[in-house]
Symmetry: C2
Subunit: 251 residues, 2 copies
């Protein structure tokens, strides 16, 4: 059944109008008529079966009839993502939604060339991925901010999985028995659950000063993602997968 | 330093000509001249530092000078991938290369609409990913074949991680303590290392008959990839990551 991430409140017997492009999708692309049913969620009121109650040239009216799932959220996991090129950026937003990130924060690092992202487009990608993956919310995507400022304001109660692709010697320094020892899963196995974030660097990696600062922060867990060099989108998907397995809802 | 996956043998003092498009890349795109050095590997002779020994309008000659790494291979891991649309197919080939798959087998399942893939293009994508990720071989990509035939000829010494996205009740049936219990990592933790393959289904999932057959095969380990529905490319990356963590070279 079609699932839509909608803006309006979902309440029994309270009809609402979906956004114009959603109405067009239902009536013109999918050719549904009055009486047809879909599923809707808004990140607040759970998932509802909704009936097309009215149709007009300008749109349609949906009427919530049965709540099919109560509102629920995945684990408290943020993705902090250095701005990368549009292609991988959009891939990562889609995949982070499927992998249950609650919030996506875009960071400008020293090796980041871009300072702009099309947030409307990224939010639309996240909403569509949420519809398809079955979750009851879409990740909140925030304006890009400088990594330094983001760390200045960090809530120290939120731990940070630092995927340090450059970090070979670094891994050894952090207590691994070999240069490769502190692979993600081993590091995470000893960590508490609770609020977390995954940090993925830009294609060129973090610079020495950024890595130095990240090393010294008490809430940071640096991890290695195996012996091969990963592109940013691969690293993001792998890291979110491992976090969900070790500490999240894939346990 | 530029890394190239080449066809020719790599041996000290034995000059060779790279493929015409590689020569063009070195001399015209990167504007290297005689004396410049690159790294080359061929999946057989390790990685060699090579010097541009000659240049002409028609190409160039590379001369291996120092072997920088002996030939090595990653764990014996195949990816068996139901044919999907070109976009996700190409993404999966790139990512499977980064994540260390040794061989990629394309399967035609009952819900697969396509029976053709551009193998030359997929092999070029794998070669480029191998150059970037630092491995010393590129995965072998084979002609598509029917899933049934592929299973008929299966080497029973190779275990198969069956990512059953449809498999909720199924997971319970297979001995999990809850419907979600047999998540990949728990299943894999009890399994032997050695030859393995990861099986990723088509976008619509396997059909009942295929799942029934897969269930009964003694070498199959069915796993769940968490509570959300994953697209095929996400599932492939997540599954390969988990396998590398549990049984491969991310341990």
């Amino acid at each position: 059944m079609i699932r839509l991430f909608v803006d309006g409140n979902l309440e029994f017997g309270e009809p609402f109008e979906p956004r114009p492009e959603q109405a067009r999708y239902l009536t013109q692309v999918m050719r549904l008529g009055v009486g047809a049913e879909i599923l809707a969620f808004n990140g607040r009121d759970g998932e509802w079966r909704c009936r097309i109650a009215q149709m007009s040239k300008r749109g349609c009216v949906l009427e919530p009839t049965v709540r099919t799932r109560p509102q629920a959220f995945g684990p408290d996991l943020d993705l902090v993502l250095a701005l990368v090129k549009r292609g991988p950026l959009e891939t990562i937003v889609e995949k982070a939604t499927e992998l249950g990130a609650r919030r996506i924060r875009l960071a400008i690092t020293r090796r980041t060339n871009a300072d702009h992202a099309n947030l409307n487009r990224l939010r639309a990608i996240a909403a569509e991925a949420a519809e398809q993956t079955g979750r009851l919310d879409a990740p909140d995507i925030q304006e890009p901010e400088k990594l330094e400022r983001l760390l200045d304001g960090w809530d120290v109660g939120r731990r940070l999985m630092f995927c340090d692709e450059a970090g070979d010697d670094f891994a050894a320094e952090w207590g691994g028995s070999s240069g490769r020892a502190s692979v993600a899963l081993k590091v995470l196995a000893d960590q508490p659950a609770g609020p977390w974030a995954v940090l993925i660097g830009p294609e060129g990696g973090f610079d020495a000063q950024e890595r130095e600062r990240l090393r010294t922060l008490p809430y940071v867990a640096p991890v290695s993602l195996g012996p091969r060099i990963l592109r940013a989108d691969t690293a993001a998907i792998s890291a979110l997968t491992l976090w969900q397995c070790a500490l999240g809802d894939w346990r």
